[in-house]
Amino acid sequence: MSRIAIGGLLRAMVLAAAIAPSAAMADEAIGQIKTEAGAVFIQRQGVKQPARIGERLFRADTITTGANSTVGITFADNTLMSLGPRSALSLDRFQFNTTTHVGQFEAALNKGTLAVKSGQIVRQTPGALRVRTPAAILGVRGTEFAVRVGDRA
Protein backbone atom coordinates (compact mmCIF):
# COMPACT_ATOMS: atom_id res chain seq x y z
CA MET A 1 0.00 0.00 0.00
CA SER A 2 2.62 2.48 1.15
CA ARG A 3 4.84 1.57 -1.80
CA ILE A 4 1.98 2.41 -4.16
CA ALA A 5 1.37 5.69 -2.31
CA ILE A 6 5.06 6.62 -2.56
CA GLY A 7 5.06 5.65 -6.21
CA GLY A 8 2.07 7.95 -6.77
CA LEU A 9 3.79 10.76 -4.90
CA LEU A 10 6.96 10.35 -6.94
CA ARG A 11 4.96 10.45 -10.12
CA ALA A 12 3.20 13.60 -8.96
CA MET A 13 6.57 15.19 -8.17
CA VAL A 14 7.99 14.27 -11.56
CA LEU A 15 4.86 15.72 -13.22
CA ALA A 16 5.12 18.91 -11.16
CA ALA A 17 8.77 19.27 -12.18
CA ALA A 18 7.81 18.76 -15.83
CA ILE A 19 5.07 21.40 -15.62
CA ALA A 20 7.08 23.93 -13.59
CA PRO A 21 9.10 25.45 -16.48
CA SER A 22 6.01 26.37 -18.51
CA ALA A 23 4.33 27.81 -15.41
CA ALA A 24 7.42 29.96 -14.85
CA MET A 25 7.18 31.18 -18.45
CA ALA A 26 3.61 32.36 -17.85
CA ASP A 27 4.79 34.30 -14.78
CA GLU A 28 7.55 36.12 -16.66
CA ALA A 29 7.45 39.91 -16.60
CA ILE A 30 6.32 41.32 -19.95
CA GLY A 31 7.16 44.95 -19.33
CA GLN A 32 8.39 47.56 -16.91
CA ILE A 33 7.34 51.06 -15.89
CA LYS A 34 9.96 53.61 -16.99
CA THR A 35 8.32 57.04 -16.61
CA GLU A 36 5.70 58.17 -14.16
CA ALA A 37 3.99 61.35 -12.97
CA GLY A 38 1.16 61.70 -10.44
CA ALA A 39 -1.05 58.79 -9.41
CA VAL A 40 -0.42 55.50 -11.23
CA PHE A 41 -1.86 52.16 -10.16
CA ILE A 42 -1.62 48.52 -11.17
CA GLN A 43 -4.62 46.28 -10.73
CA ARG A 44 -3.40 42.69 -10.40
CA GLN A 45 -5.62 39.74 -9.48
CA GLY A 46 -8.24 42.07 -8.03
CA VAL A 47 -5.79 44.09 -5.93
CA LYS A 48 -5.07 47.72 -6.82
CA GLN A 49 -1.64 48.95 -5.77
CA PRO A 50 0.42 52.09 -6.46
CA ALA A 51 3.03 51.58 -9.19
CA ARG A 52 6.60 52.85 -9.07
CA ILE A 53 9.26 53.36 -11.71
CA GLY A 54 10.96 49.99 -12.23
CA GLU A 55 7.78 48.07 -11.41
CA ARG A 56 7.51 44.92 -13.54
CA LEU A 57 4.28 44.23 -15.37
CA PHE A 58 2.62 40.90 -16.07
CA ARG A 59 -0.03 39.61 -18.41
CA ALA A 60 -3.58 40.45 -17.18
CA ASP A 61 -2.41 43.57 -15.30
CA THR A 62 -4.48 46.73 -15.71
CA ILE A 63 -2.65 50.05 -15.43
CA THR A 64 -4.63 53.15 -14.47
CA THR A 65 -3.74 56.83 -14.12
CA GLY A 66 -5.42 59.61 -12.15
CA ALA A 67 -5.96 63.27 -13.07
CA ASN A 68 -2.77 65.02 -14.28
CA SER A 69 -0.98 61.68 -14.22
CA THR A 70 0.99 59.78 -16.89
CA VAL A 71 2.96 56.54 -17.16
CA GLY A 72 5.46 55.17 -19.71
CA ILE A 73 6.11 51.44 -20.21
CA THR A 74 8.70 49.37 -22.11
CA PHE A 75 7.77 45.82 -23.16
CA ALA A 76 9.94 42.72 -23.70
CA ASP A 77 9.84 43.17 -27.49
CA ASN A 78 10.81 46.89 -27.26
CA THR A 79 7.24 48.10 -27.80
CA LEU A 80 6.82 51.44 -26.00
CA MET A 81 3.49 52.65 -24.60
CA SER A 82 2.37 55.60 -22.53
CA LEU A 83 -0.91 56.59 -20.91
CA GLY A 84 -2.22 60.09 -20.39
CA PRO A 85 -4.39 61.28 -17.48
CA ARG A 86 -7.49 59.33 -16.38
CA SER A 87 -6.68 56.30 -18.50
CA ALA A 88 -7.00 52.53 -18.12
CA LEU A 89 -5.08 49.92 -20.12
CA SER A 90 -5.35 46.17 -19.63
CA LEU A 91 -2.59 43.86 -20.89
CA ASP A 92 -4.70 40.97 -22.12
CA ARG A 93 -2.23 38.90 -24.08
CA PHE A 94 1.53 38.91 -24.56
CA GLN A 95 3.54 36.13 -26.16
CA PHE A 96 7.01 36.72 -27.54
CA ASN A 97 9.68 34.28 -28.72
CA THR A 98 13.05 36.02 -28.28
CA THR A 99 14.70 33.75 -30.88
CA THR A 100 12.18 33.98 -33.74
CA HIS A 101 10.44 37.23 -32.63
CA VAL A 102 7.11 35.55 -33.36
CA GLY A 103 4.48 36.76 -30.93
CA GLN A 104 1.13 38.30 -30.18
CA PHE A 105 0.26 41.34 -28.12
CA GLU A 106 -3.27 42.39 -27.22
CA ALA A 107 -4.12 45.31 -24.98
CA ALA A 108 -7.36 47.15 -24.29
CA LEU A 109 -7.65 50.89 -23.74
CA ASN A 110 -10.86 51.24 -21.73
CA LYS A 111 -10.63 55.00 -21.20
CA GLY A 112 -8.26 57.91 -21.67
CA THR A 113 -5.34 58.27 -24.05
CA LEU A 114 -2.58 55.91 -25.21
CA ALA A 115 0.54 56.45 -27.33
CA VAL A 116 2.33 53.47 -28.90
CA LYS A 117 5.63 52.81 -30.69
CA SER A 118 5.45 49.24 -31.93
CA GLY A 119 8.37 46.84 -31.43
CA GLN A 120 9.80 43.51 -32.57
CA ILE A 121 6.52 41.54 -32.49
CA VAL A 122 5.03 43.82 -35.15
CA ARG A 123 8.29 44.01 -37.12
CA GLN A 124 8.24 40.21 -37.40
CA THR A 125 4.46 39.88 -37.91
CA PRO A 126 2.62 43.00 -39.07
CA GLY A 127 -0.80 43.11 -37.38
CA ALA A 128 0.27 40.97 -34.38
CA LEU A 129 -0.31 43.93 -32.02
CA ARG A 130 -3.97 44.71 -31.46
CA VAL A 131 -5.35 47.50 -29.31
CA ARG A 132 -9.01 47.17 -28.42
CA THR A 133 -11.05 50.25 -27.59
CA PRO A 134 -14.78 50.32 -26.77
CA ALA A 135 -15.57 51.52 -30.32
CA ALA A 136 -13.05 49.72 -32.51
CA ILE A 137 -10.16 47.27 -32.75
CA LEU A 138 -6.88 48.71 -33.99
CA GLY A 139 -4.52 46.40 -35.88
CA VAL A 140 -0.95 47.71 -35.88
CA ARG A 141 1.41 47.29 -38.84
CA GLY A 142 4.57 48.86 -37.52
CA THR A 143 4.13 52.45 -36.55
CA GLU A 144 3.82 55.14 -33.95
CA PHE A 145 0.25 56.19 -33.17
CA ALA A 146 -1.98 57.70 -30.52
CA VAL A 147 -5.53 56.85 -29.56
CA ARG A 148 -8.17 58.47 -27.36
CA VAL A 149 -11.33 56.89 -25.99
CA GLY A 150 -13.80 59.77 -25.95
CA ASP A 151 -16.26 60.46 -23.17
CA ARG A 152 -19.02 61.01 -25.70
CA ALA A 153 -21.63 58.24 -25.78
Binding site: G72, T74, T99, L114, A135, G142, E144, F145, A146, D151
Partner: protein, 200 residues
Protein backbone atom coordinates in the same frame (compact mmCIF):
# COMPACT_ATOMS: atom_id res chain seq x y z
CA UNK B 1 -49.24 68.43 -29.02
CA UNK B 2 -47.83 70.09 -32.10
CA UNK B 3 -45.20 71.75 -29.94
CA UNK B 4 -43.73 68.37 -28.86
CA UNK B 5 -41.63 67.73 -31.99
CA UNK B 6 -40.29 71.30 -31.76
CA UNK B 7 -39.44 70.75 -28.12
CA UNK B 8 -37.65 67.50 -28.91
CA UNK B 9 -35.85 69.22 -31.74
CA UNK B 10 -34.59 71.86 -29.32
CA UNK B 11 -33.51 69.18 -26.86
CA UNK B 12 -31.67 67.35 -29.62
CA UNK B 13 -29.83 70.51 -30.68
CA UNK B 14 -28.93 71.31 -27.06
CA UNK B 15 -27.69 67.75 -26.57
CA UNK B 16 -25.59 67.98 -29.73
CA UNK B 17 -24.05 71.23 -28.51
CA UNK B 18 -23.28 69.70 -25.12
CA UNK B 19 -21.82 66.58 -26.67
CA UNK B 20 -19.78 68.79 -28.98
CA UNK B 21 -17.83 69.90 -25.92
CA UNK B 22 -17.09 66.32 -24.93
CA UNK B 23 -14.17 64.43 -26.43
CA UNK B 24 -14.63 62.03 -29.34
CA UNK B 25 -12.85 58.77 -30.03
CA UNK B 26 -9.73 59.49 -32.03
CA UNK B 27 -6.91 57.50 -33.65
CA UNK B 28 -3.94 59.19 -35.33
CA UNK B 29 -0.86 57.74 -37.03
CA UNK B 30 2.35 59.62 -36.24
CA UNK B 31 5.68 59.77 -38.08
CA UNK B 32 8.48 57.84 -36.36
CA UNK B 33 11.69 59.67 -35.49
CA UNK B 34 13.39 58.17 -38.59
CA UNK B 35 10.51 59.41 -40.76
CA UNK B 36 9.13 55.89 -41.33
CA UNK B 37 5.33 55.60 -41.23
CA UNK B 38 3.55 52.27 -40.79
CA UNK B 39 -0.19 51.70 -40.69
CA UNK B 40 -3.06 51.22 -38.27
CA UNK B 41 -6.15 49.30 -39.42
CA UNK B 42 -9.24 50.66 -37.67
CA UNK B 43 -12.08 48.13 -37.42
CA UNK B 44 -15.26 49.31 -35.73
CA UNK B 45 -17.07 46.28 -37.18
CA UNK B 46 -16.68 44.45 -40.48
CA UNK B 47 -15.38 47.50 -42.32
CA UNK B 48 -11.77 48.48 -42.09
CA UNK B 49 -10.23 51.92 -42.49
CA UNK B 50 -6.49 52.04 -43.14
CA UNK B 51 -4.50 54.93 -41.69
CA UNK B 52 -1.14 54.74 -43.46
CA UNK B 53 0.19 58.29 -43.64
CA UNK B 54 1.56 60.59 -40.98
CA UNK B 55 -1.21 62.58 -39.26
CA UNK B 56 -3.96 60.56 -40.92
CA UNK B 57 -6.69 60.20 -38.29
CA UNK B 58 -10.19 58.82 -37.74
CA UNK B 59 -13.05 59.06 -35.24
CA UNK B 60 -14.08 55.41 -34.63
CA UNK B 61 -17.74 54.87 -33.71
CA UNK B 62 -19.10 51.47 -32.78
CA UNK B 63 -21.72 50.14 -35.14
CA UNK B 64 -20.75 52.70 -37.75
CA UNK B 65 -20.26 51.81 -41.39
CA UNK B 66 -16.95 52.68 -42.97
CA UNK B 67 -15.37 55.55 -41.03
CA UNK B 68 -13.70 58.37 -42.89
CA UNK B 69 -10.04 59.21 -42.53
CA UNK B 70 -8.95 62.84 -42.30
CA UNK B 71 -5.71 64.74 -41.78
CA UNK B 72 -5.15 66.26 -38.37
CA UNK B 73 -2.67 69.07 -37.65
CA UNK B 74 0.44 68.37 -35.53
CA UNK B 75 -0.66 71.27 -33.30
CA UNK B 76 -3.98 69.59 -32.57
CA UNK B 77 -2.26 66.25 -31.91
CA UNK B 78 -0.07 68.07 -29.42
CA UNK B 79 -3.07 69.73 -27.71
CA UNK B 80 -4.81 66.38 -27.28
CA UNK B 81 -1.89 63.99 -26.76
CA UNK B 82 0.93 66.29 -25.54
CA UNK B 83 1.28 64.87 -21.99
CA UNK B 84 0.70 61.31 -23.22
CA UNK B 85 3.41 61.52 -25.90
CA UNK B 86 5.81 63.20 -23.46
CA UNK B 87 5.46 60.17 -21.16
CA UNK B 88 6.75 57.69 -23.77
CA UNK B 89 9.96 56.05 -22.51
CA UNK B 90 13.23 56.86 -24.26
CA UNK B 91 13.71 54.65 -27.35
CA UNK B 92 15.89 51.55 -26.75
CA UNK B 93 19.44 51.82 -28.11
CA UNK B 94 21.64 49.04 -29.49
CA UNK B 95 25.42 48.44 -29.36
CA UNK B 96 27.21 45.84 -31.51
CA UNK B 97 30.03 43.94 -29.83
CA UNK B 98 32.63 41.70 -31.50
CA UNK B 99 34.82 39.19 -29.70
CA UNK B 100 38.24 37.67 -30.40
CA UNK B 101 38.19 34.16 -31.89
CA UNK B 102 34.76 33.30 -30.52
CA UNK B 103 35.95 33.95 -26.95
CA UNK B 104 34.45 36.45 -24.49
CA UNK B 105 37.53 38.64 -25.01
CA UNK B 106 36.31 41.88 -26.63
CA UNK B 107 37.91 43.01 -29.89
CA UNK B 108 39.82 46.28 -29.66
CA UNK B 109 37.18 48.15 -31.69
CA UNK B 110 34.33 47.04 -29.40
CA UNK B 111 35.79 48.29 -26.11
CA UNK B 112 34.39 51.80 -26.52
CA UNK B 113 30.89 50.45 -27.32
CA UNK B 114 31.09 48.22 -24.25
CA UNK B 115 31.84 51.25 -22.04
CA UNK B 116 29.06 53.28 -23.70
CA UNK B 117 26.57 50.64 -22.55
CA UNK B 118 27.34 51.50 -18.92
CA UNK B 119 26.94 55.23 -19.50
CA UNK B 120 23.60 54.55 -21.17
CA UNK B 121 22.44 52.30 -18.29
CA UNK B 122 23.30 55.04 -15.80
CA UNK B 123 21.28 57.60 -17.78
CA UNK B 124 18.00 55.64 -17.86
CA UNK B 125 15.44 55.06 -15.11
CA UNK B 126 15.17 51.34 -14.24
CA UNK B 127 17.47 50.42 -17.15
CA UNK B 128 17.37 46.88 -18.51
CA UNK B 129 19.75 45.29 -20.99
CA UNK B 130 18.95 42.62 -23.55
CA UNK B 131 21.98 40.64 -24.72
CA UNK B 132 21.33 38.98 -28.08
CA UNK B 133 23.77 36.58 -29.70
CA UNK B 134 24.07 36.12 -33.48
CA UNK B 135 26.02 33.58 -35.57
CA UNK B 136 27.07 33.35 -39.19
CA UNK B 137 25.42 30.80 -41.50
CA UNK B 138 27.89 27.95 -40.89
CA UNK B 139 26.17 24.98 -39.21
CA UNK B 140 22.57 23.97 -38.69
CA UNK B 141 19.89 26.47 -37.69
CA UNK B 142 19.26 24.66 -34.38
CA UNK B 143 22.96 24.62 -33.50
CA UNK B 144 23.24 28.31 -34.31
CA UNK B 145 20.22 29.16 -32.15
CA UNK B 146 21.83 27.30 -29.27
CA UNK B 147 25.32 28.71 -29.86
CA UNK B 148 24.07 32.29 -30.08
CA UNK B 149 22.19 31.94 -26.79
CA UNK B 150 25.24 30.38 -25.09
CA UNK B 151 27.37 33.28 -26.31
CA UNK B 152 24.81 35.79 -25.00
CA UNK B 153 24.80 34.08 -21.60
CA UNK B 154 28.60 34.09 -21.45
CA UNK B 155 28.65 37.82 -22.29
CA UNK B 156 26.01 38.53 -19.64
CA UNK B 157 28.61 37.52 -17.02
CA UNK B 158 30.80 40.43 -18.16
CA UNK B 159 27.96 42.79 -17.21
CA UNK B 160 27.21 41.03 -13.93
CA UNK B 161 30.92 41.33 -13.02
CA UNK B 162 30.67 45.05 -13.67
CA UNK B 163 27.76 45.42 -11.26
CA UNK B 164 24.70 45.19 -13.49
CA UNK B 165 22.02 43.36 -11.48
CA UNK B 166 21.29 39.93 -12.95
CA UNK B 167 17.55 40.58 -12.84
CA UNK B 168 18.01 43.58 -15.18
CA UNK B 169 19.59 41.36 -17.86
CA UNK B 170 17.74 39.31 -20.46
CA UNK B 171 19.61 36.98 -22.83
CA UNK B 172 18.47 35.81 -26.25
CA UNK B 173 19.91 33.94 -29.22
CA UNK B 174 18.84 34.83 -32.74
CA UNK B 175 21.09 32.30 -34.49
CA UNK B 176 21.75 33.22 -38.12
CA UNK B 177 18.71 35.52 -38.45
CA UNK B 178 19.24 39.28 -39.12
CA UNK B 179 22.71 38.89 -40.64
CA UNK B 180 24.80 42.04 -40.26
CA UNK B 181 26.39 41.15 -43.62
CA UNK B 182 23.99 39.05 -45.72
CA UNK B 183 25.59 35.85 -47.08
CA UNK B 184 24.47 32.52 -48.50
CA UNK B 185 24.27 29.37 -46.42
CA UNK B 186 27.42 27.92 -44.81
CA UNK B 187 29.52 31.08 -45.16
CA UNK B 188 31.95 31.91 -42.37
CA UNK B 189 31.62 35.65 -41.78
CA UNK B 190 33.18 37.23 -38.67
CA UNK B 191 30.94 40.32 -39.00
CA UNK B 192 27.89 38.12 -38.43
CA UNK B 193 29.30 36.52 -35.26
CA UNK B 194 28.36 39.27 -32.89
CA UNK B 195 26.47 40.17 -29.74
CA UNK B 196 24.06 43.09 -29.73
CA UNK B 197 23.35 44.86 -26.48
CA UNK B 198 20.01 46.68 -26.28
CA UNK B 199 19.62 49.17 -23.46
CA UNK B 200 16.05 50.20 -22.62
Amino acid sequence: MTSTPTLWGAVAIAATLLVGCASRNLVVVLPESDGHVGAVMVRPGQNETVLDKAYLAAHPRSGAGRIKAFTISPARVNRIFGPTLAALPQAPKTYDLYFQNDSVELQEGSRASFEQVFADIAARPAAEIVITGFTDTVGSADDNDRLSLERAKAVSELFVQRGVPRESIVTAGRGSRELARPTGDNVAEPLNRRVVITVR
